[in-house]
């Protein structure tokens, strides 16, 4: 077992444990904080996968923006600071079975695939080259500039839309 495997197992444990807490804990603020922990673990995995840019973006976007917005939303939609009563609805056993079935199904499908044991190849040029390629890929008309632009339009639309929806219309 080498260092990267240790890191993977630790962060995977963090991700899964936090994710379980996200879906089970009663306190929503805690759930949001657990979500942050889980996403932080995902960021570590990105770093292990040598996608450093994504790792940092994950922290910026998810922890810096999305999670904070969740916490704000939780605080805004609450008369008291704590929830009372059960946090899960009555059909949770069914849902649990479905969740397990999903996992099992994906597991079965994956296990029939022969590329599972694949090991990562060395990246030519290292992480700097990757970063450059990513930048070029996002802005080159031969690659993904159109999806990139569409994403920016989507964000603009979401910005305007959410302001409009949340605005207090007298």
């Amino acid at each position: 077992m080498d260092a990267s495997q240790v890191i993977f197992i630790l962060s995977a444990a963090l991700i899964i444990a936090s994710a379980v807490m996200v879906v089970t804990t009663g306190n929503l603020i805690h759930a949001a904080l657990w979500l942050i922990a889980s996403l932080f673990g995902v960021a570590i995995l990105y770093a292990v996968l040598e996608a450093g840019f994504l790792a940092v973006v994950q922290v910026v976007v998810y922890i810096g923006a999305i999670a904070i917005m969740f916490i704000f939303a939780v605080m805004l939609t609450r008369k008291e600071m704590r929830d009372k009563g059960p946090q899960v609805n009555s059909s949770w056993p069914v849902a649990a079975v479905l969740g397990l079935l999903t996992f099992g199904g994906i597991w079965v499908i994956f296990s029939k695939w022969d590329g599972l044991g694949k090991l990562p190849a060395e990246i030519a040029g290292g992480s700097n080259a990757t970063l450059n390629q990513l930048g070029v890929a996002l802005t080159s008309p031969d690659a993904f500039v159109l999806p990139f632009e569409v994403a920016s339009v989507l964000l603009l639309a979401a910005l305007i839309g959410s302001v409009y929806i949340a605005m207090n219309k007298k």
Partner: protein
């Protein structure tokens, strides 16, 4: 005696350490992990020692601004004053409020200081002295700032105190808003140097010219948004004493408060350092390339000047209202930032192949023109405001 130690102690120590550790029979990988860990500890220690001294600097400077003497009893010039301060903080009673969310409450100050310490991982103290040369360092800086935001909201929420929550809300709203002009300001050195790595940005200035000459407006933008990001006056609404007592750390006592306080000081100093790295050449100075230790000295001096600038603003300008602050960001800084970004990008791509002087003068001129337009615009809108205030008010007809 080998002179290298005095020019580049880190490298020498590292070599010696590696040599010793592998001599003990450890494998190279483990040895480098241990050496790196030791390096991290060293860096954090240095930062914290610096932090202790910053308490003294801050107190001394604020005193001079206010026409006082400041600490002068303990040690020469009161230099040892921070130590009694720390002792006081440590021995104070550690109170956790009754309704507080214990875990979150106790984690907040740690994350707060941690988010600042994280920043030091990428600070290039000298050409060979740095934590790591990350190729996304500037983005990393923003990410660490996001952790700071998180710590504030954790502190504000878990204290179970409405003032704390209000203070946290204000601070987070301000930080999220001012993040935008700050990121834009960070993109300007990125465009000029063509890299997100701080070491590359410094090298670009060592081989060329300090970026302050290429983009003074960018430096100004960064300074302003950094002050807001730090939550320092005039943007210190999070602790507006008159309305919300002390903001998000109202319930914290003892060393937990101390961590927040230390974090704030170190954060300010670190941003001074980033100002130096991005616009004032970082460790660049005479002989700095040959003698990295000298470079580190230059860096600390420049960072100190940046820190002093931030303090200067803090102790001179009064606090502004929150709506003014957000309006200032969204209606002025952000548009200006985007305009500057566009102008810089265009000017850079047009001028970069023309040689040194046309490039320098062109970039400077584009900044000056943009600045002039901004000032004219402000003047016009101020005049309009004055007119509307001075205009005769309609008199009520009976």
């Amino acid at each position: 005696m080998d002179f290298t130690f005095w020019t580049d102690p880190i490298k020498v120590v590292n070599q010696w350490l590696m040599f010793t550790l592998t001599g003990w029979g450890l494998s190279g990988a483990v040895a480098s992990v241990i050496a790196n860990l030791l390096g991290i500890v060293l860096l954090i220690t240095a930062a914290m020692v610096l932090d202790i001294m910053l308490v003294w600097v801050e107190r001394k400077v604020v005193a001079r601004f206010q026409g006082r003497l400041g600490p002068n009893r303990v040690g020469p010039f009161g230099l040892f004053q921070p130590f009694p301060d720390i002792i006081k903080l440590i021995i104070k009673e550690d109170i956790t409020p009754d309704g507080a969310d214990k875990v979150v409450y106790n984690m907040a100050p740690i994350i707060s200081l941690g988010s600042v310490i994280f920043l030091w991982a990428v600070v290039p103290l000298a050409s060979t002295i740095y934590g790591v040369d990350l190729n996304v360092a500037l983005l990393y800086l923003v990410a660490a700032g996001a952790l700071g935001t998180l710590s504030i909201i954790m502190a504000g929420w878990s204290s179970n105190n409405k003032y704390a929550l209000l203070g946290a809300f204000r601070q987070v709203a301000a930080m999220i808003s001012f993040e935008i002009p700050m990121v834009v300001a960070l993109l300007i050195p990125t465009i000029i140097a063509g890299s997100l790595s701080l070491q590359d940005i410094t090298n670009a200035q060592v081989n060329g010219v300090w970026f302050i000459w290429l983009s003074p407006l960018g430096a100004l933008l960064f300074l302003v948004s950094a002050i807001a990001e730090l939550g320092r006056s005039p943007f210190d609404l999070n602790e507006g004493e008159s309305e919300i007592v002390s903001g998000y750390h109202i319930e914290y006592t003892g060393m937990k408060f101390g961590l927040f306080y230390a974090g704030e000081l170190l954060h300010a100093f670190t941003f001074g350092g980033f100002l130096a790295v991005m616009f004032f050449g970082g460790w660049h100075g005479p002989l700095a390339s040959q003698y990295p230790l000298l470079g580190a000295f230059y860096f600390v001096v420049k960072a100190m000047i940046g820190y002093w600038l931030i303090m200067w603003v803090k102790y001179t300008v009064p606090r502004i209202r929150i709506d003014h602050m957000l309006a200032f960001n969204w209606k002025f800084l952000t548009p200006l930032g985007f305009a500057l970004l566009i102008v810089t990008a265009i000017a850079h791509s047009l001028l970069k192949d023309l040689g040194f002087w046309p490039y320098l003068l062109g970039m400077l001129a584009s900044n000056i023109i943009l600045g002039w337009i901004t000032i004219e615009f402000l003047r016009a809108s101020a005049r309009k405001q004055r007119m509307s205030v001075q205009a005769p008010k309609p008199v009520a007809q009976h």
